[in-house]
């Protein structure tokens, strides 16, 4: 046991002597997490809402077109621009300078007030992330006017049935209905009440996702890179020197794995500490759950490392392979986006990665407000994942030439 500890201490000593490794382990993860968090979510809870510049071309100029402009202008996430003609606005979208443009066609107001069909036109850039958002907003406005037309038809039909009179002012009724609808927009009788699961009083902080996501990804880089260090030692000859010393094999490998495991745990802990202090990351209400998910994640990663070292056996091959595994599993496993936002098929495939189980555990604890009882399955799967990789890796690992 003493030799195992000496070997582990030596590994940590070597790690601290390697300045590039320390930068890779500490500065890079914190820097990347900070930059990505700021890019995608603003700074902490005081983040400003994203505002989309939206050109609106009013070819109608009528009363109902003004109502459309009014509704869109009142939308918090939009900045309506009316200064462009259709050609310029379309060019802005083509050039990627605007996400989309709304065109209110000529005769729009007449169509609304006379009950004829019409359309609001939305032109969006292909593949834009904000396109669905704009689509939803324009559909909402169009839906409001459809309701107006429906209401007017119902009113006229009822009045005709009650009075027998067919000489009714359709346009006047429509205007009245629109005016009422606009008033109601400010204080709608039917509201949507949205509740966040877990921490209902708190806003979602992008760093609650980013910090564990990038912590797991960079811990995998560190641990698997250290595992590759065993191959480096084999090539250098120090591993052979240790093998011909009177050291039990389990001490030799155990010491190296212990150092890798502790490095991974330390790195994740540092990321969480930084996230909590600087970005007010919500660490959830179960410190024990957080600790166990972290330990299980690092155990699974360390074991994956020994399996890869046992199978690959060449330092030149291991780095591209581990990079591929880490980036691939991070992308589909939820390190970059919450797993529950992924398509169903991706979620299913992601289950083969340890990242998916780790991130599910962290998301449950840190975003959904779960307790230890909610992450037992994740911890168990990670522990089993580690045990299988460790067992197979140990069996395939070549201590000596045969």
């Amino acid at each position: 046991m003493k030799k195992l500890l000496y070997i582990a201490l030596n590994e940590l000593h070597l790690l601290l002597k390697d300045r590039m490794a320390v930068i890779w382990m500490v500065v890079l993860p914190l820097g990347v997490t900070t930059i990505m968090g700021l890019v995608f979510g603003g700074f902490g809870r005081e983040s400003e809402a994203v505002v989309i510049d939206l050109p609106v071309v009013d070819q109608d100029g009528g009363e109902m077109a003004a109502v459309v402009l009014d509704i869109l202008s009142q939308t918090e996430s939009l900045h309506v621009e009316t200064e462009y003609d259709e050609e310029t606005a379309r060019q802005l979208v083509s050039d990627g300078k605007r996400a989309g443009v709304v065109i209110i066609p000529q005769g729009f107001s007449d169509a609304i007030t006379s009950g004829r069909p019409t359309a609001l036109e939305l032109i969006v850039a292909p593949g834009g992330q904000t396109a669905p958002l704009l689509e939803g907003m324009v559909r909402g406005v169009a839906s409001t006017f459809s309701s107006v037309q429906t209401t007017v038809e119902v009113v006229i039909s009822e009045v005709q049935r009650a009075t027998g009179s067919y000489d009714l002012d359709y346009e006047g009724i429509a205007r009245r209905v629109v005016a009422i609808a606009l008033e109601r927009l400010e204080d709608p009788p039917v509201r949507a009440r949205i509740t966040t699961v877990g921490s209902a009083e708190e806003e979602f902080n992008i760093f609650d996702q980013m910090v564990p996501g990038y912590a797991v990804m960079f811990a995998m880089f560190t641990v698997l890179s250290a595992a590759g260090g065993i191959l480096e030692e084999k090539e250098r000859g120090t591993f052979k020197r240790l093998l011909i010393a009177p050291i039990p094999r389990w001490s030799l490998l155990g010491g190296k794995l212990m150092a890798q495991f502790l490095t991974g745990v330390g790195q994740i802990a540092l990321m969480f500490l930084f996230g909590a202090l600087v970005f007010h990351v919500n660490l959830g209400s179960s410190p024990l759950g957080l600790l166990l998910v972290t330990l299980a994640t690092c155990w699974a990663t360390t074991s994956l490392g020994i399996l890869l070292v046992a199978v690959i056996r060449s330092r030149k091959q291991i780095h591209p392979i581990t990079t591929l595994i880490i980036l691939g599993s991070s992308a589909i496993g939820g390190s970059w986006y919450p797993l529950f936002m992924m398509p169903k098929a991706v979620q299913q495939v992601a289950r083969v990665t340890l990242v998916a189980w780790a991130m599910e555990g962290y998301n449950r604890l840190m975003i959904l407000g779960g307790s230890l009882a909610d992450v037992w399955v994740d911890i168990g799967v990670l522990a089993l994942y580690g045990a299988i990789c460790f067992g197979v890796g140990l069996r395939l690992f070549r201590f000596k030439e045969t």
């Binding site: 030799k3 250098r236 120090t238 020197r241 011909i244 010393a245 050291i247 030439e401 045969t402």
Partner: protein, 312 residues
């Protein structure tokens, strides 16, 4: 004389490749035993088996009274190994390297610190003890490599090509260290492909080629088989048996080996033999294409035995 190592019928095969093909030898207590041979002869594989790193395919190997296959832990405690690679941590300094490897041998702390100081003194690195190994010259690394092999105060030391890539000064220092350690009673196995090293250091030498021992004796005895020199004569055409018999019968010729288009003569006296050989070639009007007199040394012995250069 008591044997520290007994190797009997050692074979090590990797598939169809016979890295070591049935070698046997003994190393006596207190001697420096050399394994001499070109790269790929099987020297490192032999050391790897002796130090328990490689499992033999067949053979009985006993080191310091312990079987390498049945009692590897006991063998590990009895031996010191200086591998061909610079098996050190480049990011650590000399003391840190020695301290780490020393701990692997359960050397008590105070004893280890004393041992580290003594070994640094021995290999002349005391002044560079706190410098990172990555900043050492090739020779300094080799000397530290030697020091690590001596940490456990072994009964038997194996050195695998310990002077590869070192400057003459460090090579000389390593030789002096080895001779001093041997004078203190340390038994040493030394592999090299430098014949002058084997001649200088080794009490006995086994010459290896293609996994086999092709000669084993003291350097003096091996060299004496060549007399005062070896003469190589190139011939254009195949010589007939009668001509070969006449050459063999020359008074100053001990033996003739005909290999391809070369005749290799072991001689009693090289200079006189040369005159006799040229005389016979002239008398029979036989054409020579080349003529070479080789100094009597281990390299010539190897050439005579295998027809190949030692440093091929």
């Amino acid at each position: 004389m008591m044997s520290v190592i007994t190797v009997d019928g050692l074979r090590k095969h990797y598939g169809d490749v016979k890295a070591v093909d049935g070698i046997s030898f003994e190393i006596h207590e207190g001697e420096i035993f050399g394994l001499l041979g070109p790269n790929g002869a099987g020297k490192t594989t032999t050391i790897n088996v002796l130090c328990t790193y490689t499992e033999p395919t067949a053979g009985e190997i006993v080191v310091a009274g312990h079987s390498v296959t049945a009692e590897p832990e006991a063998v590990k405690r009895a031996i010191g190994v200086v591998p061909q690679d610079i098996a050190l941590y480049p990011d650590l300094n000399a003391v840190e390297n020695l301290r780490f490897f020393g701990r692997m041998y359960d050397i008590p702390r105070a004893r280890l610190e004393q041992r580290i100081a003594d070994l640094l003194q021995l290999v002349g690195l005391t002044e560079h003890a706190r410098k990172r190994v990555e900043h050492y010259s090739g020779g300094m690394k080799r000397r530290l490599n030697l020091a690590v092999g001596l940490l456990s105060e072994p009964r038997f030391l194996m050195l695998d090509e310990p002077t590869v890539g070192v400057d003459p000064q460090s090579r000389h220092a390593i030789f002096e260290n080895i001779q001093a350690l041997n004078r203190q009673g340390l038994t040493i196995l030394y592999t090299t492909h430098y014949m002058e090293e084997a001649e200088l250091l080794c009490h006995r030498v086994a010459i290896m080629d293609e996994g086999r021992i092709i000669a084993l004796d003291t350097p003096q005895n091996l060299i004496s088989t060549l007399g005062t020199g070896l003469i190589h004569v190139g011939v254009k055409d195949e010589l007939d048996d009668e001509m070969l018999a006449r050459l063999q019968a020359l008074p100053q010729v001990k033996n003739v080996v005909h290999r391809d288009n070369t005749l290799a003569f072991e001689t009693v006296d090289a200079q006189r033999a040369l005159l006799e050989i040229i005389g016979l070639f002239n008398e029979t009007d036989t054409a020579m294409t080349s003529l070479e007199i080789l100094e009597p040394n281990l390299e010539s012995v190897f050439i005579q035995l295998t027809g190949k250069q030692l440093r091929d």
